[in-house]
Amino acid sequence: MSGVPEERFHRTLADKGLQEAIRSSTVRLSDHRRTALETLPEYEELRTQANAVKRHTIENLESYLKQFESNALAHGAQVVWARDAAEAADFVLELAKRKNARLIVKSKSMTTEEIGLNERLAHHGLEPVETDLGEYIIQLAGERPYHIVAPALHKTRYDVAALFTEKLGVAREIEIEKQTRIARSVLREKFLAADIGVSGANFLIADSGAVVLVENEGNARLTTTAPRIHVAIAGIEKLLPRAQDLAVFLKLLGRSATGQPLTVYTSFLTGPRREAEIDGPDELYVVLLDNGRTRLLADAEKRQSLYCIRCGACLNHCPVYRKLGGHNYPGAYSGPIGAIITPQFMGVMHHPWLPFASSLCGACGEVCPVKIDIPKLLLDLRADVHTAEARQGQGRLERLGFRAWAWVMRHPRMYEMAGLMASALLAGDRWRSRLPDLVNQGPLRAWLSQRDLPPVAKSFHRLWRERRKAAAK
């Protein structure tokens, strides 16, 4: 397998502090999940229902997208469709320009990580500020989230102290509670000064046109309440048919992610502030993002990857994630779910080793609250990688063959010798076994096994020479 960043893997494995941080965090999150599920006797039924609802929604995505759109519009939201990352990011950029906004507060969103929104906004002179504590820390550090629900899992209090001193100019503070207060006061000012708040969406509700956000800190509430404008960016797969489906999904999400029966805040947002309501944003935009999702949708088996509700349970239970951590996975999504969606969003040959970064122990599939068969999809993707590699290999071989043929054709002596060799080689019907192993393998073997060659005719040159020899005797 080519392109495996082995050197980086070894660095991660050799970093004892990091290994301990990953181990303790994933073990703790797994334990919390297990304890929380002990008090949910209907867990298996809920999983089955969640899987059935997601399956149904994805299979009927077109009608649910339209239903969502018309209900969102009816409640005064605006719906924006984005084919790819650039279109989604450009929309926010244009909106900021149009509204004369510079400061943009953001609540935690894997989708905006996926489209590289912060980089794009910053590149154009805007100031995007992450407000989830973990995301804020990694933004200051200029890194990517390490884990879907615990983005700064790899940072110690000492890392945070150094970062705050360097970036915020505050005195060194190593107490976690006080570090949190520092972030609170810095970010509080940002919330109150920002013109635009950007969030993701945990769910989009078709029968309501609503955006649902789940969080613990209150930063998503502030992001969607304090600024005049709220932009929610969501993949088209985030739909649920009915608000009532949340009774199932919310019970699964909090418990699977952090072991909470419900996260601290769940916001069900339908359109901007209404006439008589006192506060809330005046404008709400929902950006529906494709960015590779419709391509993924075309595979009837693999489209179940789109059921994912981003709980992170598969990461916590994965023996590979527990060793490699988050940053060794390419793209925004790490762990087993990353190993199945990243290749599908980007194409399998971008990081062909990714579906192989699994021991196939099956834990990811067992803990998935929406029953995505992750191990099966990993195998399917491995097969896709092999097919793609074979196709590339075949292409190379073909090109090589034609170059050799062209050379031979331009050199009469060579042509004649090649003809002699071919007729010797192909005489009788055991010619296939006489092919050198180098040629007779892989795709070529399959191709050759289906074909019989006529005996090689003698060239005119050879016939003429033979006749001259016979005449001379």
Binding site: A152, N219, T225, Q244, L262, F268, D279, L297
Partner: protein
């Protein structure tokens, strides 16, 4: 072709005509357990306490007002425009500002208040959750900006849990632009998995059931 048309076309093309298309959605799964009012209060209080919230059962509206006054201890607070808070006499307390209809003025008051006082529309017994619906009576920021949130809940509004909430409010968007479920104080564990309360929202929650 617009992005909308192209995405919808791609979705249509990708899905083809699978066996599940146009079939009815799986039936909604909602089951509401039977619980006596007392059992609900007991469950609610135990869930709140587990989350480090502070519950109090008031014997009367006057008792509720007395309890809230005790928590405030003269510190500035903002109360929502809910009629029930007025009925309890809470809006008449000396350090309590109320009656905001302008978002700018409200924001200013909330930014400096020690506590926000609201009247929850529902409470979920099994998870210790408050359900807040934004309306002319309830602003969003009162339960969000001040470091402490005091929620007054008439006893009849305590429902069993999420399932009952969604059977009573099948479409929250018909009622409000914002329905928020609040389950305990704001918290984070983003640094070394150490729990810290009150990171962005209130770090303290007091619940007064009347």
């Amino acid at each position: 072709m617009t992005a909308r048309e192209q995405i919808l076309d791609s979705v249509r093309a990708a899905l083809g005509s699978g066996p599940d298309r146009h079939r009815a959605a799986p039936a909604v799964r909602i089951s509401v357990p039977e619980r006596t009012p007392d059992a609900r209060i007991e469950m609610f209080f135990s869930a709140i306490s587990n989350l480090a919230g502070k519950p109090y059962l008031a014997t009367s509206p006057t008792d509720a007002c007395r309890h809230v006054a005790g928590i405030l201890d003269g510190q500035p607070a903002v109360a929502s425009n809910a009629p029930f808070l007025r009925e309890c006499g809470i809006t008449g307390l000396a350090s309590v500002q109320t009656g905001f209809t302008d978002s700018g003025a409200l924001r200013q008051a909330c930014a400096t208040a020690a506590a926000g006082i609201t009247c929850a529309h529902y409470a979920l017994a099994d998870t210790g959750t408050l359900v807040m619906l934004a309306s002319p009576e309830e602003a969003r920021l009162i339960s969000l900006l001040p470091p402490s949130h005091i929620a007054v809940v008439p006893q009849a509004r305590i429902v069993t849990g999420l399932d009952e909430l969604f059977s009573l409010v099948p479409q929250p968007g018909e009622l409000t632009s914002s329905m928020v479920l609040i389950t305990g104080p704001s918290r984070t564990a983003d640094i070394e998995q150490i729990l810290v309360r009150g990171v962005h929202g209130p770090g303290e929650i007091h619940i007064v059931v009347v």
